[in-house]
Symmetry: C2
Subunit: 192 residues, 2 copies
DNA sequence: GAACTTCGCTACGCCCGCGTAGCGTAGTCT
DNA sequence: AGACTACGCTACGCGGGCGTAGCGAAGTTC
């Protein structure tokens, strides 16, 4: 059924995608030329064009390879779940390979429909786990029944992105934990 | 003393900068070519090069022209000040001319030192007013004395940016108000 | 109205990236 | 071993953007 894949293709494919991600992180999407990818990866330019129709398809495909859907920790408590998820986000935004790619993807998503779709799909995949943990907390009674999970998500993740992309302050795990605790405190006390 | 500025220069300068911002918003920074600016503005390419040494200087200068430092509302209460500032941010991120420029600036700031400096300067200018309002609230006793203003800033502005750049949900003034109230509630109730 | 300055225009030279064609070579499957 | 397939390489044609030079026309200053 599966028509035997030539190991040479998978080898060159991996090298090209890896080099592409490196270059996008360094120079941004528009400056990531096929010729630069060829040089960096050691794969000939013509070989690249044998596997991808054009430059856009290559870059899109490269972004596709770094999707690491987070695992639902399900620690038993809302706070435990959120601490896992949000500190993992903090790590991804600072040390992870996606850290340098994120601004490029955000910018590209503003104009190119293909990147917009990819960005939306990636975000939903990430958010899905968090939303699930939140609704679980609501059902457990750890959050009021009228809690809006989407609001809560922005309140939790937003401060981390803001630190990373706008503020000059350093994004630490400690900050992530403070954010979780603060948001939970606001939601578990009755409005004044 | 002031050496009389030829009105023709100011006219062409304004047209060029305006066209540059339009194009950056539409296509992004790298795709904003001098020739496209010339066509859009109606100013000849050679005339552009008479006022700016190269493309980078032109784009930098264009970004410089849209800095509208927010005014300190000083309504008398912390909540009043923050509502003014944060809803103004929500407006700027959605309808303002800077809305479409922000992602491009963020991306450019990751790699180009000149854009990084401009981005940092712009952010500090915006944040300064908010930080001032927060410390005023601390002195008034509306916030605990050990409040970290920088933390609070990220908690307030972050969710708005996250909605605008990452989530698919719409960024409304109502969301901005909810964010302010929630962050204030968390800070004005004793930790459990 | 005369000197000065900015303007628009045409025409460059240069570099670089895109995507393609054709070839010989080296690795892969059976 | 033999057929097959992906590979690297060289060489293109093409388009497009950068930044410059030189000119005459139009606007500005005094």
């Amino acid at each position: 059924m599966t028509p035997r894949i030539d190991p040479r293709m998978t080898r060159s494919r991996a090298a090209v995608l890896s080099a592409t991600l490196e270059l996008v992180a360094e120079r941004g999407i528009p400056a990531t030329t096929v010729e630069a990818v060829a040089e960096r990866s050691g794969v000939a330019k013509t070989t690249i064009y044998r596997q991808w129709p054009d430059r856009a398809a290559l870059v899109l495909d490269a972004f596709d390879t770094i999707l690491a859907p987070p695992v639902d920790p399900d620690t038993g408590t809302l706070r435990g779940d959120l601490l896992h998820l949000i500190t993992a986000l903090a790590d991804a935004l600072t040390t992870g390979p996606a850290a340098a790619l994120m601004p490029a993807l955000i910018d590209a998503a503003q104009r190119d429909p293909a990147f917009a779709a990819l960005h939306r799909r990636e975000a939903e995949r990430r958010h899905h786990v968090v939303l699930h943990a939140i609704t679980r907390g609501v059902h457990r009674g750890e959050l009021p029944a009228d809690t809006d999970p989407a609001d809560l998500l922005d309140l939790l993740a937003g401060p981390l992105f803001h630190r990373r992309l706008i503020s000059t302050a350093e994004l630490t795990r400690d900050f992530a934990e403070r954010t979780v605790d603060l948001v939970l405190r606001a939601h578990t006390t009755p409005p004044t």
